[in-house]
């Protein structure tokens, strides 16, 4: 009896050690892959940072309506964001290579599903990028137009429009990533509707006096009746 127990224990220890030893090359490969990818990521990030700094990437983006360098600290400048994203991408690739070294069925399935998901991630990133540019361009157009129309709530209008576009873009990106599509749809509807309602209320309340005056003027004046008060013509001529 004791002999049998001893044999079972030896067998299980042998099996465990055999499996563990068979894992070791994969583990070593994972560590080496992570180590190499970390070095590569650091080098690439440094190159990217230097290149983008020499190209005045932050200033160029600021000119196109992205956060100006004054607003963003050096720790989260666009240059740093790009270089860190690049480093993270290299590290992720190293991790996937290391995982693949284990040569298990589940690791290959895992990698296959990740690779199949990459186009969705890229499309979502592209959507976010384009959406951000469009949102900022439209926001700037609205801000300038509203200021030139002498609207006191120009800034609010501009920010509202910007967030409308950003919310729409994020919803589209999440839809593309297939992350909780039902929740995204619902959240998008609530957020979008909320922004539109708050904009409508703000503009409506802000223009209340203007609309009242305009309506009063129209009601007081019968159709076809000439204007009772002579209107002094503005002598300004720009051209």
């Amino acid at each position: 009896m004791w002999q049998q127990v001893k044999q079972a224990l030896v067998d299980s220890t042998t099996r465990f050690l055999t499996r563990f030893v068979s894992l070791l090359p994969g583990l070593a490969a994972l560590i080496v892959a992570l180590f190499l990818s970390a070095i590569l990521a650091w080098i690439l990030a440094a190159i990217a940072r230097r290149l983008l700094t020499s190209l005045h990437f932050d200033e160029r983006l600021a000119r196109r309506g992205f956060a100006s360098p004054a607003e963003s600290s050096p720790m989260n400048s666009p240059t740093r964001l790009v270089s860190r994203s690049l480093a993270a991408l290299v590290l992720l690739s190293g991790f996937l290579i290391g995982i693949a070294a284990f040569d298990f069925q589940w690791t290959s399935l895992f990698i296959q599903s990740i690779i199949a998901y990459i186009p969705n991630v890229l499309a979502a990133c592209l959507l976010l990028f384009v959406g951000n540019i469009v949102a900022r361009f439209i926001a700037r157009s609205v801000l300038i137009g509203a200021v030139n129309l002498n609207l006191q709530y120009a800034r609010f209008l501009s920010i509202g429009i910007k967030w409308l576009v950003i919310v729409l873009t994020v919803a589209m990106a999440l839809e593309h990533l297939k992350i909780a599509p039902g929740v995204v749809e619902l959240a998008f509807g609530i957020l979008f509707g909320g922004i539109v309602l708050s904009l409508a209320l703000a503009v409506g309340l802000g223009s209340k006096e203007f609309v009242t005056k305009s309506l009063e003027r129209d009601v007081q004046k019968a159709p076809g009746e000439p204007r009772s008060e002579p209107v002094e013509e503005d002598p300004l001529r720009h051209l």
Partner: protein, 421 residues
């Protein structure tokens, strides 16, 4: 009111003309008929081709009165007037600036095709255009060695402010000639200048953008060392100001001017000081009472712009200018005064930002509107404070400030990154 029909119009294919007259504005048939009569009554036996926007065809050409041929006109030693069908096909398409440019180019193309010695364009509302305007403008082309005849309108103090505040003093400082209306819009050009403009149009353009005929008119003539003259034409009627469209007007007008500045940089960087141009005719004095201007509204617009557009202006203007603007925004209406030097630097900085494409060009020009209104308000306050005879002196002071500030422009133009006070 019964309209006077257009007399003797020979509508046929012609292969040459001495003068091409382009009528671009909307007009009524009475004025049109008088203009035709005035041209026909010219003492010189010229062949004059009139190009209009097509209205004459429908309203007047349907009932020609006289039946006079070229030979009888020549026998009487008078001008022969030909009518050409409208060369521009879609007058309603595109933005106003684009439509105007297309109309001018069409008239120029007709003049080139007919090998005309001169080309005159009338673009002002014909309500106040006297029938003699066309010949007043064109005559110096035939009488003397003049290549570009520009109008000198009689203006009240609040008329033509965009021209007086930016375009005329800017081009005076750049090209060294004191021209009152460098962009017309009514003018006459010689065959020589026309050929140079058409050649420049077909040559390589800056960033692939098209030349605007009005913006490149005076700079081309001055850079090619051609002769200019101004003619006193009297008052001009202006369309009422549309406050909502002011930013579009700024973008439409200043865009081509800044583009042309970029093209002619080698030419204007050589020019120093300014000289007067020959003026023909007697100036017309208008009554100076031009009403009052609501400066408060313009100051409010500027203050709103100063509050909300700082992030855009900060990309265009140096910190010292932004500081000055912040100080200006805190002043009350009574104290409101924008120094000429500040305004001149703003205009120069916007021209530079337009060249460097610091931000989208349309955004850039439209964001200038509150600053322009601040200048207009300051000008209105100055003119109001200093009396009747002051507008000319006030504008002359501004023009001198543009000339003095040119060194700043040249420095920033040559070293945009290094020179940033």
């Amino acid at each position: 009111m019964e309209t006077e029909a257009i007399p003797q119009l020979v509508q046929e294919q012609i292969d040459s003309a001495d003068l091409v007259v382009g009528l671009i504005a909307q007009f009524d048939s009475d004025i049109l008929a008088k203009t035709y009569s005035a041209l026909q009554a010219l003492p010189d036996p010229l062949r004059i081709a009139v190009v209009d926007n097509g209205q004459a065809e429908s309203e007047a050409l349907a009932k020609p009165l006289a039946d006079e041929t070229e030979s009888t006109a020549a026998a009487k030693n008078r001008a022969t007037v030909f009518h050409l069908a409208s060369p521009w096909t879609k007058p309603e398409a595109g933005a106003p600036g684009v439509r105007m440019a297309a109309a001018y180019e069409s008239v120029f193309a007709v003049a080139e095709k007919l090998k005309a010695r001169g080309c005159c364009v009338i673009a002002s509302s014909l309500e106040n255009v006297t029938p003699g305007w066309a010949w007043q403008l064109a005559e110096p082309l035939f009488q003397g060695e003049v290549d570009l005849v520009l109008p000198h309108y009689a203006r009240r103090k609040f008329e033509g402010l965009l021209n007086n505040g930016i375009i005329a003093p800017l081009l005076r400082a750049l090209y060294g000639k004191r021209v009152n209306n460098p962009m017309g819009p009514d003018f006459a050009v010689s065959q020589r200048l026309l050929q140079k403009m058409l050649a420049a149009k077909t040559s390589r353009s800056v960033n692939g953008s098209r030349r605007h005929p009005l913006a490149s008119l005076t700079p081309t003539a001055l850079c090619e060392n051609l002769q200019l003259a101004e003619v006193h034409l009297g008052p001009r009627i202006y369309a009422p100001v549309d406050w909502t469209g002011l930013s579009s007007v700024l973008a439409d007008v200043l865009g081509p001017v800044f583009l042309d500045m970029e093209r002619n940089a080698p030419c204007w960087q050589r020019t120093r000081a300014s000289a007067t141009v020959r003026t023909i005719g007697e100036p017309v004095i208008l009554d100076t009472d031009a009403g009052s201007v609501e400066a408060a509204r313009m100051v409010e617009s500027f203050q709103l712009g100063n509050r909300e557009l700082q992030e855009i202006w900060a990309l265009v203007l140096p910190p010292s200018t932004l500081f000055e603007l912040r100080k200006l925004a805190r002043l009350s209406l009574e104290q409101f005064h924008m120094p000429d030097e500040l305004w001149v630097r703003i205009v120069y900085d916007f021209a530079l930002a337009h060249r460097l494409r610091t931000i989208n060009r349309d955004h850039l020009l439209r964001s200038m509107t509150p600053l322009y209104l601040a200048w207009v308000a300051s000008y209105a306050q100055d003119v109001k404070a200093s009396g009747v005879a002051s507008p000319e002196r006030r504008l002359e002071r501004l023009s001198v400030a543009y000339e003095v500030g040119k060194s700043y422009l040249v420095s920033r133009w040559r070293w945009p990154d290094r020179f940033n006070p």
